[in-house]
Amino acid sequence: MQKLVVLKSRAVPLPAENIDTDQIIPARFLKSIDRKGFGENLFRDWRFNIHTGEPNPDFVLNNPKFSGEILVAGNNFGCGSSREHAAWSLTDYGFKVIISSYFADIFKGNALNNGLLPVKVSEEFLKEILEGINENPDNEIAIDVELQSVSFKDTTETFEIDSYKKICLLNGYDDIDFLISRKQTITEFELKTQKANEQQLF
């Protein structure tokens, strides 16, 4: 997993609320059996005209004014399906951080498992950031994972991150490494609860 320690970047504003994972990556693009290449279909049906396939000039990813490794989105980002393809499409496109005032649970977990940091800010700060980027797209956002801080212009907020996940992100570790190191404990648990025997289906 990619590690993330600090990041200072311009940002892309996408103020719509309740952006669901079907918008992030429509189901018809989930037929791949590997993790790569999803970025080209990120926000596919908002980004491209559904008849001609031409870029939709009104959509922010097609606006040359905005760029950066941070996406700033409206409330309740990532609701809907558990498809990790949503996180893969965002990282494949080049985003490293998503800022919103609220994240859906499964998306948040998927993002963190891919080194994509969901940063939850207050609604006021979200508004300030969205307005500030629209005023001047060169305004940068600074993220510090160690300090759990997000700064924009004169404002700094701290954001929450699970202490275990923070260590993972700072070091590029993932959960599999940790879980397989606990196999003995897991086997003991199975014996104690007779899970391995009782739960066998076949």
């Binding site: 103020p15 719509a16 609320e17 309740n18 669901d20 079907d22 918008q23 429509p26 189901a27 018809r28 989930l30 037929k31 791949s32 059996i33 590997d34 993790r35 049906d45 559904i50 409206g74 409330n75 309740n76 609701c79 809907g80 399906s81 558990s82 498809r83 990790e84 393809h85 996180a87 609220y102 859906a104 649970d105 499964i106 977990g109 998927n110 498992n113 891919n114 699970d162 202490s163 275990y164 993932d174 959960d175 599999i176 940790f178 879980l179 397989i180 606990r182 196999k183 404990t185 897991i186 648990f189 199975e190 609860t193 899970k195 391995a196 739960q199 066998q200 289906l201 076949f202």
Partner: protein, 462 residues
Amino acid sequence: MNNSKKTLFDKVWDAHVVETIPDGPQIIYIDKHLIHEVTSPQAFAELESRNLEIFRPEQIVATADHNVPTLHQEQPIKDELSRNQVEQLTENCKKNNIELFGLGHQYQGIVHIIAPELGITQPGMSIVCGDSHTSTHGAFGSIAFGIGTSQVAQVFASQCLLLNKPKSMRITVNGTLNENVQPKDVILYIISKIGTDGGTGYFCEYAGNVFEEMSMEGRMTVCNMSIEMGARGGMIAPDETTFEYVKGRKFAPKGEDWNEKVAYWSTLKTDEGAAFDEELSFDASDIYPMITYGTNPGMGISIREVIPAPQNESEEKALKYMGLEAGQAVNSIKVNYVFIGSCTNARIEDFRSAAQYIKGKSKSEAVKALIVPGSQQVVKQIYEEGLDKIFNEAGFQIRQPGCSACLAMNDDKIPEGEYCVSTSNRNFEGRQGQGARTILASPLTAAKAAIEGKISAFESVN
């Protein structure tokens, strides 16, 4: 607060804690892992790339559902990418000794329909699947939730997940339901009240006489849509209805084991006085048949109402997408498609209720009506009970099992701009096809819309 009082969720969760990491998450043991073709290939690849073996293959069950055609399943899948994905699942299962109920198998079907009907889903279990509607299995009093593909790989590698215990919520609905109100209406009503993020961070228990009196099929419909209010999962305390449903199913416990299990399952109830982080309650008599009118499942109204005025920019955008205006009468929407299917509403009870209404009637000329059973076993029941004749005579098409037009990964797509009254779970933009307009409803409301070509209130018998 008295710590000895536990909720149903606490009891099941605590029984699965392998270890608590100081200042961190808990290692949670997973009893059953359900997989399908779309969210598993990258997890198998992940394990291979790390030279890891599947830790407990006998606790995994696979099926092909998301990406399969609903016509001519006996023939090779035409779409190359879909075929490749389904073949990859078959190969991965074979290589790793995982039981697969693939295309052509008598138990194939939508993952959240086959596991309960085979008795794989049992009370008190922890169940995961790379699909957000895994919350369905909570209807049995199990902890069941959707996971991402990285987590699928974690369960492959260790039969465990690293999780922080979610907060607890109880939603109580007491009273008498109005006529023609189905379980789908109950959950659409709840989501319309609390919104698509009202349950985020919570695991929800449904309580009250409305859920106690519901069939298992109805409870599954309710728990299925827990994720649509943001909740990680939903659950209902197991009772006689649950035991009766599980008993005798293929993988259900038998003999002395059955008695022991039932004794344990009977303890899985929230203790009196146990505290929840959030409690909500609703009155059953306030609930009428529901539809959605926007582009998220929280935008719901009863079929007696008119389209409400948008409250913000996102709702304005949703109405524009749906081609609807504030104040518009619901019965003015021209329905072109009706889809009765999906992990929410493709169980035999759903088709029985639709057939009962449809019997002796014909669908509207303007409507294409699809019946997509949730599993091969549901197909068998439909034919055994003669429901097929009712559907065929009314002009409905009966297809083969799969997720179908719920997410339109296969050819079952709704064309741009057309309205589809759908018994599925999501009305997101483009969910049923690019530009498609989805109106979520119960099987009964959907059946009525297919006959009339519009959505209208039921005439009251009283």
